[in-house]
Structures are given as structure tokens and as C-alpha cells.
């Protein structure tokens, strides 16, 4: 769990796009109960763009995403080695403060999990934890974030109702707004539309595309068409390794690796 000196290993086959990195992963290896889940990951994620992580089930996509906000810490029997730099700060350094790191990253999970409280309190939860107590300020945050995700008009008259009464698509937008309320720099999405109907999916996708001007967005998805629609860059993970990383069109239309080609054509899933 200690920081390695910054050296590019020769095993790095992946050439990162030439954009200043927001998130940089170095020599990351993850073992869970002795299984080597992620192998020697070296990666620089570009700012203000959407990067999709694709790959077959069980390849380590979600694990890779979870290492970015250290939610991986809560997995039993996990061992992490290597570094993840966010704005040049190693989040796996011994003195790194995990709540501070997580505040920088909004997480949008597979299914919406609204907190067991009102719509208003769901949004205000994060800011309150980080010290905002002023009612006016909180009101303003709630309104702005709900407008951000296009939910304000739908819920403004029932902010004090339980968030579980919203439709599942509305819940997912609420969860996105909840994440944005703590002013993150990065948005992580873990198959965030897999539980949604096509229209809600489209709403979320459009939102993400809109948000990328202010945020760096990393999505895990198993839907290739979605990766093509929304992402600027694609990472293809296979068997715990990154086989390919590049611009969306390059990876999808002109993959360098045979396995990527087969996956893209739908021969492997």
C-alpha cells in the first residue's frame, strides 16, 4: 500500500492520449483472497472527457472503478499495491485521508440507492456532512443540483417526501444530483443505466455528456453502443489486464488487439 516512485515501466503497452492526466494509475495490482484481479495497471485518464471501461463480465472493470475512490477498501481480503494519483496526490499513500478522496468523486451505482430520507435531505446529506448548516445555502444547493439533473420541476412541490417514492429513473437522477452536491471533480459510473428504461437511460447519458465540460467522467459499461454514444475514450479490460486504451473510434473501429476485435464484434461477452 505504499507509494512507488514514479517510473514508467517497460511493460506499459498502452499509450495514453496526449492530454494532461487528472487521474493517473501506476503499477496497480489487486489481489482478492489470493486471486490476482487486476494486473499491473498503468493508465492516465484524460480530464473533462468521458472514459468508458468495457470488457467481459468478471474481467475486473468494476474493481478498477472501485480502486479510484477506494471503495475497494471495504472488500474483504483485498490487497492493493501501486499508486493512484488524483491531481498528483497518491490516494493510496499511508497518510491519504479516505473521506477527503471520496468527496472528490461522485459515484453513480448500478441501481439507484436513495438514502432512507426525504428528497431534500438526500441532496443536503453530503453538504451537511462537510459542514454546510445554513438553511439558505442548503436550499440553494438542493435547487441547483436538482435543476442540473432536470428533476427540479418534477419534484419541487414534494421535496419533503421520501425519495423511495420516486420512479427508478428519477431516483438515479437524484443519486447523480446527490453526488454533484458535494462538488466532486470526478464522476464514476458503475453500469449506471443497467436498471433503467430506455428513456431514463437516454436522460442520464445526455446529462453525463453535458457534465463532462466540468467533470472527468469514468464509466463502467457492458453496453458497447452506450460506450460508443457517450465516451471519448475507451479502456478495454480483459482478464485483469488493460488490453487497449484509446479514442472511442480507434478502439471500436480499429482495435489493435485481436481479442478486442472479437469483443467489439460480439464474439466474446
Amino acid at each position: 500500500m505504499h507509494a512507488h516512485p514514479i517510473i514508467e515501466t517497460e511493460q506499459t503497452q498502452v499509450v495514453s492520449p496526449a492530454i494532461q492526466p487528472h487521474i493517473q494509475i501506476q503499477d496497480l495490482n489487486i489481489h482478492i483472497d489470493g486471486h490476482h484481479i487486476l494486473k499491473n495497471i498503468n493508465l492516465s485518464l484524460p480530464n473533462n472527457s468521458i472514459t468508458s471501461i468495457i470488457g467481459p463480465s468478471g474481467c475486473g472493470k468494476t474493481t478498477l472503478l472501485k480502486t479510484l475512490n477506494r471503495l475497494i477498501d471495504d472488500t474483504k481480503g483485498v490487497q492493493v499495491s501501486g499508486s493512484v494519483f488524483v491531481n498528483g496526490e497518491d490516494i493510496y499513500a499511508p497518510n491519504a485521508e479516505v473521506t477527503h478522496i471520496r468527496k472528490k468523486m461522485g459515484l453513480l451505482s448500478q441501481k439507484p440507492f436513495p438514502l432512507p430520507m426525504s428528497i431534500y435531505d438526500n441532496i443536503a446529506y453530503g453538504p451537511r456532512i462537510h459542514g454546510t448548516r445554513n438553511k439558505k445555502e442548503l436550499n440553494a444547493i438542493v435547487e441547483t443540483q436538482l435543476k442540473n439533473v432536470g428533476l427540479w420541476e418534477e419534484v419541487k412541490d414534494r421535496l419533503d417526501q421520501s425519495a423511495t417514492r420516486l420512479s427508478i429513473g428519477q431516483q438515479q437522477r437524484l443519486c447523480l444530483a446527490r453526488g454533484l452536491a458535494v462538488k466532486p471533480e470526478i464522476i464514476l459510473g458503475d453500469e449506471s443505466t443497467s436498471a433503467l428504461d430506455p428513456i431514463s437511460t437516454q436522460t442520464i447519458e445526455n446529462l453525463l455528456v453535458e457534465l463532462k465540460k466540468d467533470y472527468t467522467i469514468v464509466l463502467v459499461t457492458h453496453i458497447l453502443r452506450q460506450a460508443r454514444r457517450v465516451s471519448d475514450y475507451i479502456i478495454f479490460v480483459y482478464g485483469g489486464e488493460i488490453l487497449e486504451f484509446g479514442k472511442t473510434e480507434e478502439v471500436l473501429l480499429n482495435p489493435k488487439h485481436e481479442i478486442t476485435r472479437q469483443y467489439v464484434k460480439g464474439f466474446i461477452s
Binding site: 471520496r102 432512507p116 446529506y125 453530503g126
Partner: protein, 298 residues
């Protein structure tokens, strides 16, 4: 072949239904039996007087149940005040913070605690809790007492309901989805903030159910409480007074002094009282739980 199988099925269905009816009818029969046996007392006294009179002097024909009702309620309340916070925090520690190794060690130990016979808790109370109250705790508050008090009963009782409370609460907390915790953690909340504001809130109906089960057990607990709480039929005014809970009244007096008029009937009435208290309590908590669940899922 098919015919026999169908017949077997029909027999199984009918016989399990009959067995269910038998076990349910036991409850009803107990209720009816107790009421029936209490009738002689009702013929001489009005129920309201029995419940509000605080003089228990069977020899003089005075049957006041208020001291026993208050004794039962106060011992149970003290036990709850001690055990609820302890159990809630312990179960949060076990589910959210503790390592697997610790969990695997502690949970079986708690089951052992549950298997200890009540009389041993009573002995432990007499040997340790009662003297401790007499010579250390009560003097702190400037009170002198024998140590056989409501507080002693409450402490012993709270230890007795620990196991059931903790094990149910741990089961309840385990059902909270990991993603919900992740949602709170990913907003930068600490584990404690998550436990306080999200997990406990989500688990509220289950935690209340655990407390209700523990209270039902506490109301009826007899021998251990009887050994430490003094058994003086007076309304307790502080936790350093002796108390006399209903189960202790029945256990101490049943079969003795039956020559006194209406005594037998009075004890039956106290049993009925206990029955009604537990029944009503469960009913009320069921209603509260239904409301809570409705609020969460609706």
C-alpha cells in the same frame, strides 16, 4: 401411485393445520382460564380499583396491584435503558467495523450467553451486583440501601436480554445493502456518520422489532429478577428502592396462603394482568412497525 401421493399431501396439509390450531388455542385457553379464575375477585372489587390501589394486604382484604405493575414496568425500563444503547452500538461495531476473526469469535459467545439458565444470572446478581450497588453505586448518590433494588433487577435483566437483542440486531444490520453504505461513503461520510444517519435509519423497523422481542422476554423473566430486586410491595420511587414485579409475586406466593379469601383469585388476576400487558405491548409495537415499514417502502 399418484393417488397415494395426493392423499399424503392432503393428510399433511390437514394435520399441520390441526396442529397449528392446537398451538394457537393454547394461547386462547390460557387467556380464558385466567379470566375465569379471576372472576371471584371481580365480583368483590371493581377493576379500576384493583389497578390503582397501592395497598397490598390480602389478610385485610386489600388487593392493590399498582405496586406490582410499577415494579414490572420500572425493572423493564431500567433494563432497556442499559441494554438498548449497548446492544445497538455493539451490533454496529460487529457489522461495520469488526474483523471477520473477531466476529466469528464473538457471535458464538453471545449464543452461549443466551443459553445460561436464568437462575445463574440471579446468583451472579446476588453475589456481585447487589453488593456493588450497596457499597459503591448507591453511596455515590448519597443513598443507603441493602442493594436489593430495582436497579439490581434492571442490570441483571439487561444482561439477560443482551444476547437476543444483539443477535437479532446483527441479523438486521446485515440486510442493509452494501450499495447503500457505499452511496453514503462515496459522498465523503465516515463510517460512523454512515452508521448513524443511513444504516440505523434504514434498520429502524428491525431494531424496534429486536427491542420488542427483548422486552417481551424481560416482562416475563421471573427467577433472576426475583432474587435481586427486593420484593417489597410498595410503589418504587427511585431506582434504589426495592420493587416487586408481577412474575415474582406469582412465583413467591402461588400455592401458599391459599386459605386467605380471594388470594388465589388475586394471583390469577395478576397473571392475567401480565398476559394482557405483554399482549397489548406486542400489538402496539406491531402497529408501529407496520407504520414504519409502510413509510420506508411506500
Amino acid at each position: 401411485m399418484l393417488r397415494t401421493r395426493l392423499i399424503k399431501n392432503a393428510i399433511a396439509k390437514q394435520s399441520s393445520f390441526v396442529l397449528l390450531l392446537i398451538s394457537l388455542s393454547v394461547v386462547i385457553i390460557i387467556g380464558i382460564g385466567l379470566t375465569f379464575k379471576s372472576i371471584p375477585l371481580f365480583e368483590s372489587f371493581n377493576i379500576w380499583d384493583l389497578l390503582t390501589n397501592h395497598v397490598w394486604a390480602p389478610m385485610k382484604g386489600s388487593f392493590g396491584f399498582l405496586p406490582f405493575i410499577m415494579g414490572t414496568l420500572s425493572v423493564t425500563l431500567v433494563a432497556l435503558l442499559i441494554s438498548c444503547p449497548l446492544c445497538i452500538l455493539s451490533s454496529i461495531y460487529l457489522t461495520e467495523y469488526a474483523s471477520n476473526a473477531l466476529k466469528n469469535m464473538v457471535l458464538p459467545l453471545i449464543n452461549v450467553l443466551a443459553a445460561i439458565p436464568p437462575v445463574l444470572y440471579g446468583v451472579w446478581g446476588v453475589l456481585f451486583i447487589v453488593p456493588a450497588i450497596q457499597s459503591y453505586i448507591a453511596p455515590l448518590f448519597g443513598v443507603s440501601t441493602s442493594g436489593y433494588t430495582i436497579l439490581a433487577g434492571g442490570i441483571v435483566l439487561s444482561v439477560m436480554i443482551f444476547p437476543i437483542m444483539i443477535s437479532i440486531m446483527v441479523e438486521v444490520l446485515k440486510t442493509i445493502p452494501a450499495e447503500l453504505k457505499a452511496a453514503s461513503l462515496s459522498l465523503g461520510a465516515t463510517k460512523w456518520e454512515t452508521a448513524q444517519k443511513v444504516i440505523l435509519r434504514k434498520a429502524k423497523p428491525g431494531i424496534i422489532a429486536a427491542i420488542v422481542l427483548a422486552i417481551s422476554r424481560a416482562f416475563g423473566e421471573t427467577i433472576a429478577v426475583l432474587m435481586v430486586c427486593g420484593n417489597v410491595s410498595k410503589i418504587p420511587t427511585s431506582i434504589f428502592d426495592a420493587g416487586y414485579p408481577i412474575p415474582a409475586l406469582i412465583a413467591n406466593n402461588f400455592g401458599e396462603m391459599m386459605s386467605i379469601p380471594l388470594y388465589d383469585s388475586a394471583l390469577m388476576f395478576s397473571a392475567l394482568l401480565l398476559f394482557v400487558i405483554i399482549f397489548g405491548f406486542n400489538l402496539i409495537s406491531r402497529i408501529i412497525l407496520n407504520r414504519l415499514e409502510g413509510k420506508h417502502n411506500g
